[in-house]
């Protein structure tokens, strides 16, 4: 019989590493050793890690070809911004409202559109993302096309822990019977249905959950950046998130994290050569796909299992 408990060596070690990582970076920030650009890059990494992991839940785990993720990010960003700026609400509430409204939107649009498959679903979700953008462009309350001033309400600690919580939630969801139900939809929808999995429910659930976290990520974004504009959340941003997911490996959560990290850091590292930056990014994308079309991690996860004794593998 296997040990099944939340308390095991692997979890303890992981938690320890997370705390060390946080403490080291926080220490560097507090002592002003870490330059502001690095802090700001790290916070953006947090935003994109959540976005990529949540899109991976939809595209990688559930196998639904969605390319309009920036739309949910926009909803989260704007609603969280409104809570912060117009209602002076606390940050936690701001992020939560952003996430919930995005999730509601995800549920409402997911229900009818997730009947579509493959490329048709792709273009429909892309269209939805664009519609969201256009709606914000047209509503003066949100600043219209000119944008909305939000101001900075979030710091590294918040961004980091919200990211960790998001990842834990997504991870725990995926590694459960409900996550397996989502995976079965990806693997073979007809068989999944025949095995008693309500495929529509799980598609919509994954989509809603993904939208929720995209909204939370949007909230972090708008609370960190001083100014947001609808065009920030256009289809190119959706593509960017998709690229992170595929680059890391569709279906692999560690892959999504890696993809988000690489793309965000690359973006900053190449900012000194603006004219070449996009060309280099484009070439890297093509080369990456040519040599590793299944992404850096494939569907595998990087894990600590190798640290465990043989046979001690467990489900948690």
């Amino acid at each position: 019989m296997k040990r099944v408990s939340i308390l095991n060596r692997k979890n303890a070690l992981t938690l320890f590493l997370v705390i060390v990582m946080y403490a080291v970076i926080q220490g560097l920030i507090v002592t002003d050793i870490l330059p502001p650009l690095y802090t700001s890059t790290l916070i953006q990494v947090c935003v994109y890690v959540i976005l990529a992991a949540s899109l991976n839940l939809i595209n990688g785990i559930t196998g639904q070809f969605s390319i309009g993720h920036a739309g949910f990010m926009a909803i989260g960003a704007y609603l969280a911004g409104i809570v912060s700026v117009k209602f002076h609400g606390p940050l936690f509430l701001s992020l939560l409202v952003g996430g919930i409204v995005a999730a509601v939107a995800g549920f409402i649009v997911g229900l009818p559109t997730l009947r579509l498959r493959g490329d048709y679903l792709a273009i429909a979700t892309l269209g939805l993302g664009q519609i969201v953008m256009i709606i914000f462009q047209n509503i003066d309350y949100f600043g219209g096309a000119a944008g909305m001033q939000v101001g900075r309400h979030i710091n590294w600690s918040w961004a980091f822990w919200v990211t960790i919580i998001s990842l834990v939630v997504i991870h725990n969801f995926v590694n459960s019977t409900h996550g397996r139900a989502c995976i079965s939809v990806r693997e073979n929808e007809i068989a999944a249905e025949a095995m008693g999995v309500n495929t529509t429910k799980y598609k919509v659930l994954a989509f809603t959950l993904g939208a929720f976290f995209a909204g939370v990520a949007g909230g972090i974004y708008s609370n960190y950046m001083y100014f947001i504009q609808p065009t920030t959340f256009n289809f190119l941003t959706s593509f960017n998130i998709l690229v992170m997911v595929v680059l890391g490996g569709l279906g692999s959560m560690t892959g999504s994290i890696l993809g988000a990290l690489i793309m965000t850091v690359l973006n900053v590292a190449l900012s000194g050569i603006p004219s070449l930056r996009m060309v280099i990014t484009a070439l890297l994308l093509i080369i990456m796909m040519l040599f590793r079309p299944s992404g850096l991690m494939g569907t595998k996860e990087f894990n600590l299992n190798f640290l465990e004794k043989k046979g001690e593998r467990n489900v948690a």
Binding site: T177, S184, M195, V315
Partner: protein
Amino acid sequence: MLKIGNLSKSFGGLKAVSNLNIDIKDGELIGLIGPNGAGKTTVFNLITGVYEPTEGEILFRERKIDGLKPYQVTHRGIARTFQNIRLFADLNVIDNVKIAYHQHAKYSSLGAILRLPSYFKGEAEMEKKALELLKVFRLEGKAREVAKNLPYGEQRRLEIARALAAEPKLLLLDEPAAGMNPQETHELMELIRWIRDTFKLTILLIEHDMSLVMGVCERIYVLDYGTIIAQGGPDEIKSNPKVIEAYLGEEAI
């Protein structure tokens, strides 16, 4: 157990199944045979809700199931295998089985996310049940192997195991012996009988391999051009002139 009354299905103008009547009693092991293109798989798809009937009704344990979605039919207690194997190919063997246990899972999404005790209990129970089931099918040693890497015969067995994990009352097997050699087929025959007795199931199977059908089935329905042309015990069917005619030039019995 299952009562199909005046069932018809047409695709466009083509009538795939017409005026079908099947009555299966509790615990029976029934065969559904017929030449290629007779509409056997269509009948399965109608029972399991993949297709909606054009006419007629399907009663399962006295309740109407036509018009239900496939997963709802499964929840009512009907599980199936597929003619062309439809495993979750990239998942490992035990996860394939666990997915079919999903409908009986005893914890919610929230329980999973918060890693409540119900999650650990539920997962442990699933793992145990899945391993037990795999043992029956002699697959327990391969529990962590990826399904698509299994040999063909084992994939067929896994598909049956997975269907059983849904804990059905009625099991539909779509050509379970397809692609198996006589030895494997013989073993499968034993297994099917054993499953029926152990799990107290009713089984309806489609099969081309007559030795298997004649060997295990207690009653057989013969389907041709979407209608039942004969039914009865194996011996009756063997000697039924209509059946021989339907199969002539198709396949020797």
